[in-house]
């Protein structure tokens, strides 16, 4: 690898790949392998802090409420939420399958974004369950 000449003339494929990389570097949602690796490298070198708002989610208020709310949520899951009033606080993770006429089997960036968003919903619901919301 060290034997490469970094400044050799680029091939047509390399020019295309370099342009794709340039665009992906500006895209926070990109899943391009090299950009994902570059971001991981940077975060290992200079890790960012956990935002205070997120850190505080695990603070006293939440933990005090954990037992009580877990019991309430557990009961509600079994018996249903009375009047549906509490349900409005929860984010709903829906399947995207009804949106497509054909079954989607190929992985795509769009599906990855949906999966990421659903993952965020799951996280938020956990915070809700623990009494943060």
């Amino acid at each position: 690898m060290k034997g490469d000449d970094p400044d050799r003339l680029p091939t047509a494929e390399e020019l295309v790949a370099a342009e794709r990389l340039r665009v992906a570097f500006e895209d926070p949602w990109t899943e391009l392998e090299d950009v994902v690796l570059a971001r991981a490298l940077r975060l290992a070198w200079a890790p960012t802090g956990l935002e205070r708002s997120v850190a505080l989610r695990f603070g006293r208020r939440r933990m005090v409420a954990v037992a009580a709310l877990a019991a309430v949520v557990g009961l509600a899951l079994v018996t249903g939420f009375p009047g549906g009033g509490s349900v409005r606080q929860w984010r709903t993770s829906r399947s995207t399958e009804p949106l497509f006429e054909e079954k989607v089997v190929m992985r795509s960036d769009r599906i990855d974004r949906i999966a990421w968003a659903r993952g965020a919903d799951l996280r938020e619901n956990r915070f809700t369950r623990w009494g943060v919301r």
């Binding site: 370099a18 690796l37 971001r39 490298l41 975060l43 200079a46 890790p47 802090g49 997120v54």
Partner: protein
């Protein structure tokens, strides 16, 4: 091996005794309260160490903020569920919390589809070491984790052509703008794009080769 470890562990104990007896007493009280079912105490322990765990353990290994936040969330779930399994060993709550977080990171890495700086095998080895090494207090542990992450980056860059390593250092690690890096390297921006592509491709190949060896 044991002889190598002993003086060092004594030094750590001495350092702990010197810097943090009051903190440790306070932490022991919180742990005892958490064991007795006090969720407020458990929350305070988690709040105390969550940011450190995120910054020095989860983020470097998982390589993305979203993945690290998910892992931190999962770590808290496991802590709440397993707090009764924690036994006080005189060095605080953090070493146990770190081990729980490493197990969560291991699961996350096994499910990842992208190549990262740490592989699941790397974290599995760290977990093995964590079970045999002398536990460190939070400050020593964080300093060691941060140094280890930087060392890992340096080792990865050392496998590359120096020009590729410089490109990655300037553009990725130092986060300098594309135009500025191109000027520093005395190339056009389009040539720099090709250089960056080659640099990251070389890094990926190097990490893949390391993973196979």
């Amino acid at each position: 091996m044991v002889l190598d470890v002993l003086p060092w562990s004594f030094a750590v104990s001495a350092r702990l005794a010197r810097v943090a007896p009051k903190d440790l007493d306070d932490e022991l009280r919180l742990v005892e309260a958490a064991h007795a079912g006090d969720r407020r105490a458990l929350g305070e322990l988690c709040q105390r160490y969550g940011p450190t765990l995120y910054r020095s353990v989860l983020l470097p290994r998982l390589g993305s903020e979203a993945a690290a936040k998910d892992a931190l969330s999962e770590t808290y779930v496991r802590v709440v569920a397993k707090i009764q399994l924690f036994h006080w060993q005189g060095v605080g709550f953090y070493p146990w919390l770190r081990t729980v977080a490493l197990r969560v990171a291991l699961d996350a890495l096994r499910a990842r589809k992208h190549l990262l700086l740490w592989s699941a095998d790397d974290v599995a080895r760290e977990l093995d070491r964590a079970s045999t090494e002398t536990p460190l207090d939070v400050r020593l542990s964080e300093a060691r984790d941060r140094a280890k992450a930087r060392q890992r980056v340096e080792e990865a860059l050392a496998t590359l052509h120096p020009r590729y390593a410089r490109v990655i250092r300037l553009r990725v690690l130092e986060d300098r703008p594309r135009d500025e890096v191109a000027a520093m390297l005395e190339v056009s921006t389009s040539t720099f794009d090709v250089l960056l592509h080659r640099s990251l491709a070389a890094l990926r190949k190097s990490l893949e080769a390391r993973g196979k060896s």
